[in-house]
Symmetry: C2
Subunit: 438 residues, 2 copies
Amino acid sequence: MAQHLLDLSAFRCPENLLSLSPTYPRSAADYLVAARQAEALSLQHLLRMARLVVAISSLVHALQRERGASGIFASSAGARFRELREKLVLETDRELANFDALLASLGSDGDIIQAGNRLLSRMALAVHQLEHLDNCRQRVAALQVNYEEVNQCYTELIRCLMAVVFEAADSASDPEITRALVALFHFMQGKELAGQERALGGMRLASGQFSTALAERAGILVEGQERCFEIFSHFADDATLALWRHDVVPCALEEVRRLRAIICSPCRDPQRDAELSEQWFAVCTRRIDAMKQVEDALERNVEQTSEIRLAAARQDLDRYRRDVLAIQQPDPLTTLADYPEDASVDALGPALGRSMIDLLQSQSQRLHSMQEQLDKARTALEERKLLDRAKALLMKHRRLREDEAHALLRKMAMNQGRKLIDVARAVIAMADVLGSSD
Amino acid sequence: MAQHLLDLSAFRCPENLLSLSPTYPRSAADYLVAARQAEALSLQHLLRMARLVVAISSLVHALQRERGASGIFASSAGARFRELREKLVLETDRELANFDALLASLGSDGDIIQAGNRLLSRMALAVHQLEHLDNCRQRVAALQVNYEEVNQCYTELIRCLMAVVFEAADSASDPEITRALVALFHFMQGKELAGQERALGGMRLASGQFSTALAERAGILVEGQERCFEIFSHFADDATLALWRHDVVPCALEEVRRLRAIICSPCRDPQRDAELSEQWFAVCTRRIDAMKQVEDALERNVEQTSEIRLAAARQDLDRYRRDVLAIQQPDPLTTLADYPEDASVDALGPALGRSMIDLLQSQSQRLHSMQEQLDKARTALEERKLLDRAKALLMKHRRLREDEAHALLRKMAMNQGRKLIDVARAVIAMADVLGSSD
């Protein structure tokens, strides 16, 4: 992805050329232009975040593949996927280098201010997990860990990286970019759950072990995928949606469904299970690979939308400056005597102010409508926030770590046969009732 | 208010001393510290916004007094309040100078980025209205406007200034400061509605005109005050609340209620109305003056809370840096061989990472709980946002200006005998049903 190597500093100039006029008192026009500048500056930041998100998306994909190969390498005691795993490790390292290069270009005060407390905290967690990747790989290479442990290590890392994407989506201030990010996030999440389902089914078939808990966990993963792809479908652009409907949805669907039913049934037959294991892995992988095309399209869409929005904001800013200037230098023949003296509020000011009022009103209308669009796009992120809030409550009141809280919520959902989100709502409601939420 | 003249630039240093480390790759610790830096930088910005809000609050108070005197000056054809009006104009000018001095100190790129599109747009509208104040005053002095026109001009200006306070409250990212701003905003708004009620009653008694519409408008103003003071009470600090309950609530309450009943009754008697007019003005003024003490306390609270939060964030940042440094320079005797090899996710990384994980988890928990507090404080602002959204819809679909849309909503509320907020909800629901909201 060559565009990651673009010099981001090249995007720093235009908006910074003009700050709020130092002459005083400043006019309404100055603030109006500054408002548009703030918008352009924030879109400039969003473009950098969009590129970071795209780099994370590629990195997560590489980690997903490395996880799959590493798990099989570990569970086959090094007999299978040795070379593939080494190859995939190198691919991940390339994506890591991309990601690192982008991170290295971020670090000014402006970046810190705009990224904000929340995103930087998520970054800290993701970087912390990345710092342990080498250690995890060494232990895989030395065959010191089993399938489940390998899986857990990569899955936790991916979860932390996804949390950065989520935060970027949630803090983006432009409705179109937010929509693109919401679509990408949910698709990534759906694909990740598909990967987790592949691993879970693989474990089930390799071990021959069946438990109701396992079947329920599988059920949650399937439900989670459906919910993610539903939200993705709602926010994706038409072209990507067509790709999804024609290339991915039908892909291996029947086979996946047939195998899901077998995996979730208690009967076992070691010979058949071994055969099915190969089939299951192949079918899931075909489906996940097909998803990658959609993910690529969503990545491009995030980046392009951000570029288009920034370019548009810059053009708007230029046009806006000209409009404002034209209003500020009115026809010199118009004098105070020409002002109508009717009783309206505007008439109390000069009639010339009329076009400034038009600009002000249309800006205010524009902000309203942007906020409305933004609110709609962010609603889709609320579910995950509810989950986070429930986790935070469990962490606090039961002194759990985040992963433990997540596991507990899952367990409650499994035991009660309810959706994760409903259990989260119940936990929050209970905390509210008990007055222990703060 | 001498504190307005403090050199704000003195607050720029500490957080900027350390940006994200330029050495690469950066550690999780770097991002964790940067997250705290972002928080301190945003509190630094919030302190400046808090001071701006306090200046606006004082300016609004001066404008409210100037409005009252100007209205009576205009309606008495210059016979009454000539000197008082001139004195109050000078007082307003002093507050304006304060406000201007604060604005003059804001204008860097960082200010523009942090203030954001929305706040700057509100500022533009407020500054635009302020630009017309001189014109309005000239017309008052020349007796070219009547009571209602004067009232409208000042009220619109005050509305625009209040919108800046609202936006500051809505965009503040610290729960405690948000609470203080929400309390101040609603108190200011309640006091403003009390002032509007005084003016409306004055008009009714001066003109002797009664209409159902007028009685309904008075009812809406009373209802609005109650709602504002209810929200204020919910968010105010204890000391201010005690001041409110003991000094303001009982103040002239019986008399205000008695006169309200008379104003809203259709009988008229010019002689009695003239007497009542004096009484009404005196009683309302006593009540509003008592409110000023509470407003002052809320202003101090906004400023002090912001100062305390910034100071705390700076201390935290220093302590945090030391903690993080201590973790990064571990006991050199600990080697890889000491790491336990159990299967937990953390154990896959170095055990030393444990205390870093503690820091990361506690930061994540802290953010959750801050967000929760913030959401609670912001809920109080939702009502006003619903009103704004309804107005925006009316502006768009009926091609109205903002003040016209507001008047229409009011009229609908009056005609239907419903609360403004319920009419707003109905307008939004209707737009949603018709699919015309975007």
